[in-house]
Assembly symmetry: C2
Homo-oligomer: 318 residues x 2
């Protein structure tokens, strides 16, 4: 399945080979365990950076600028951009085109966009599986760029070694981001578009929320950086902060702990996804469809129906 | 468990009885099936309205105004306000206080706020279970007011008969909302704060997206209404649109189909929640914790570890 020639091409970062493998991984519905297993064991050397935040915060621009700095240092960078929502607007597609011209053609950069609607849980799983291909290929850095709107995007962020939450000054976005659960996952914040009015007060608001709420993560101190990514202002400092965090994790030994935690989340997601697929086979889907009208008529409660479905599932495995 | 006296108090909409029952429902971790089952069978007459949208769109204000109109018509209204994020800012708590003074003290209104962080899946389940208590009590209308930020909030919206998506003109919120999956669940849109600049262009943008993307839902035509809820402008029209949609569903027979669909989603959520709880007992949590370091060392892949956990779970039920 992964013969020596394919592995050699993969390790040489042959983009066509990488694309084909990711497509294979994306297409597999949990069946190709052997392939995934083999790919997984080839990796282990990439450092994973998550860049997340609300739509329109400038995550792509920041990612592009960071990537330019990294390749200038001779590093290799794989980017997985996840936007489950882009088919609505085409925004990501336009952004993709700009990005491909700017950095995507560089030999040390590989970019993959994922934008499948409708199966959020599946999408985060596929994005993480795809990152294994990049890891196996030996990219120094893997950047996950995700829209921070749902649990699934948070799951992707949680597989990163360093997670950067990008906000913008206006409209209380910083506050709203706190609300959406981005708070717990940030290793540091970037207030992008900081040339806009209200940037300083956004930073102040963020600081006071941080002081109120954040549990400490060892000795790591969560900073708030300001950038104007479109003009490349402050981007170098963001990269410095990423490296500072990387050094902190490595020197304190916290990196292993974090990766253990991240992998536990990943395994749980794989398990729950598989149980879900097994549970909702055609037979039980049909049973549910047949019984649901009784629930509407209040002749049957959803709780009792759920119980009989679970019993049926279990008896199958008995 | 639900004796005749308690049922009588419940049917009389005794607020203390309702609160106690909801608290009981909230506290139960899937165990109190009999209670939930009994409550469920008492209901069936409430019409469920979902009001969702991004934070800060003015959902609470609109809900309050709609409620005032409904009680002026002699209707009874139960409100379940879900904001998983409010502990960060206290915003919801402040809003709650205003709301209690405005409508919450009225004998025909019951308000329950739910704002538990950390267990989103659980929160949507609890909110829906709680609505069964209000349904059993016989409220004419149940309004779910939810922040449209995640899958879980969408799940709550999906249990409604009529779902209203509230947006604001500025900062491309309408577009962003499309992206966040609010699109598929809207029976109609409200652009609130329509006295702000950009309201008309926001409506135009929304219209073109709607024309491009929306599958028709029978003969129902999705409208975009404009309001300034804080000044009670356009609120009556929103209520008219809710009634128009209610009539449409009832006369076309689509209401039953929608409720069947909604209950299927609900049953699936209950099933998956129970499987999750069963799966992750202490023994398997420990096993996962013990094995996860091997995954980090690449001696074991997450896929193989997931497989052995599933095998263990199944053998337990064998």
């Amino acid at each position: 399945m992964l013969d020596a020639e394919l592995i050699e091409k993969l390790k040489a970062k042959n983009k066509r080979t990488i694309s084909k493998l990711i497509t294979k991984v994306e297409a597999s519905e949990g069946e190709e365990k052997e392939l995934l297993d083999n790919i997984y064991k080839l990796g282990g050397n990439s450092y994973r950076i998550g860049i997340t935040g609300p739509p329109g915060a400038g995550k792509s621009t920041l990612t592009n600028q960071l990537t330019k700095l990294l390749i200038a240092q001779g590093k290799t960078v794989g980017i997985i951009a996840v936007d489950p929502t882009s088919p609505f607007t085409g925004g990501a597609l336009l952004g993709d085109r700009v990005r491909m011209t700017e950095i995507g053609l560089h030999e040390n950069v590989y970019i993959r966009s994922m934008a499948t609607r409708g199966s959020l849980g599946g999408l985060s799983k596929k994005a993480i599986d795809a990152s294994d291909v990049l890891d196996a290929a030996g990219y120094d850095f893997i950047i996950f760029e995700t829209v921070g709107v749902g649990q699934s995007e948070l799951d992707i962020a949680k597989t990163s070694d360093t997670t950067v939450v990008v906000l913008v000054p206006e409209s209380g976005d910083s506050i709203q981001a706190m609300k959406a659960g981005l708070m717990e996952i940030a290793d540091f914040f970037v207030v992008n578009k900081s040339d806009r009015p209200g940037a300083d007060s956004a930073v102040m608001a963020l600081k006071s929320i941080l002081q109120l709420n954040r549990q400490t993560d060892g000795d790591w101190r969560i900073e708030i950086l300001q950038t104007v990514a479109s003009q490349n202002q402050g981007v170098k400092e963001v990269l410095d902060e990423i490296f500072k965090h990387k050094n902190y994790l490595e020197e304190s030994g916290a990196l292993t702990g974090r990766r253990i935690r991240n992998n536990k989340i990943r395994v749980k997601n794989i398990v729950e996804n598989e149980l879900r697929i097994e549970m909702w086979n055609d037979m039980r889907e049909n049973y549910l469809s047949n019984e649901a009208p009784k629930v509407v008529e209040r002749a049957l409660s959803p709780f009792i129906l759920a119980e009989s479905l679970i019993e049926n599932y279990k008896s199958e495995n008995g």
